[in-house]
Symmetry: C2
Subunit: 204 residues, 2 copies
């Protein structure tokens, strides 16, 4: 499939679809909104909808994807010699969170998607995040992706830590940025084997 993403026109269409979808989602829930309705509201055909978004649920992850893109660049901008966890920490802390938007999307997801699909989608993003870290780790010497066990495992552990923290944050009551920072920091420190959490993997 060829995804339109070049011209001004296509960007307008995309925006119209996003708007229409969000409005419907909020008004009548995700599952009770049909792709056809969204397309009609935006004044385009159903087929066009699927050219701009791979699925109905994809709309609920657009922000996530954008964030991933941001993170990739932030990571690339860190100094070469820095330990990978430091780079990740710095990038995460610098991220321009829009708590309100995150909360809204989270509410829509929680209320409307069947768990399987949503979890799969999030895991996908987590995997991409891990890929980004692995890329930055750079030990990947041009060989086929996933050639080095150490790189793969390290990157995925970091992704697991960050996403574990974020999911915990979303579930909790204190949805302040400070709390998010605290959780991410704790998770990453645990990986480093800091004073408090040494021996994490030796727990009973």
């Amino acid at each position: 499939m060829v995804r339109p993403a070049h011209t001004v026109r296509s960007e307008r269409t995309r925006e119209a679809l996003r708007r229409a979808a969000l409005a419907r989602f909020v008004a009548q829930g995700v599952e009770d909104t049909s792709a056809e309705q969204i397309a009609a509201d935006a004044g385009v055909s159903l087929r066009t909808f699927y050219r701009h978004f791979t699925s109905k649920h994809d709309l609920l992850f657009a922000d996530y994807d954008a964030g991933l893109h941001w993170f990739r660049r932030a990571l690339a901008a860190r100094p070469k010699g820095e330990p990978i966890i430091e780079s990740v920490r710095a990038a995460i802390f610098a991220f321009p969170y829009d708590v309100q938007a995150i909360t809204q999307i989270a509410a829509l997801r929680a209320g409307a998607l069947d768990p399987g699909r949503i979890v799969g989608h999030i895991r996908q993003v987590e995997a991409d995040f891990g890929e980004a870290v692995a890329e930055r780790l750079g030990i990947r010497t041009g060989a086929a992706p996933g050639t080095s066990l150490a790189v793969t495992v390290t990157a995925r552990c970091i992704a697991a830590a960050v996403f574990g923290a974020m999911e915990l944050w979303m579930l909790g009551n204190d949805r302040s940025l400070a709390e998010l920072a605290r959780l991410c920091n704790a998770a990453l420190s645990a990986l480093e084997g800091g004073p408090d959490d040494a021996g994490m993997f030796r727990h009973d």
Copy 2:
């Protein structure tokens, strides 16, 4: 949806569907096999097919799911006081691998599924694996799943290590059990911070 899984009859249907599907998959590829063909070959309706398998691709992961079930029980059987990584290692090493079947399924998957879907499915299994480990970690004090950051992160890291090793194994040339054991062992040792891999997360 109510999945049939009780009577002898339903088990026969399930087997017939599995057989029919595998035959078609091998003969004409996964993507060029329609669910309707499979159902017809097995002598049941399309609707019935979807009662036994959540999707066409689900057929390629039946073994995975069965393995997960096996692992869950093996883990539960380990002594309470054992460090979690030891338990995982022991369970993995005791698994009755059917290399031939694994290789065949892997070939089908590689050739036929669009990458997105297959990766998502595998990640799902990996997540379930992590859940199993987290469960066994037990620190989860009856509270809602994912309450403890340490447990979640630890479990996911272990899952990442094991699956990272397995995927590397599938990609490599040496598909012997010894090689699989070596890779899993290396990945898990890395987590423990063994003598060779200490400071994994401090790599540049």
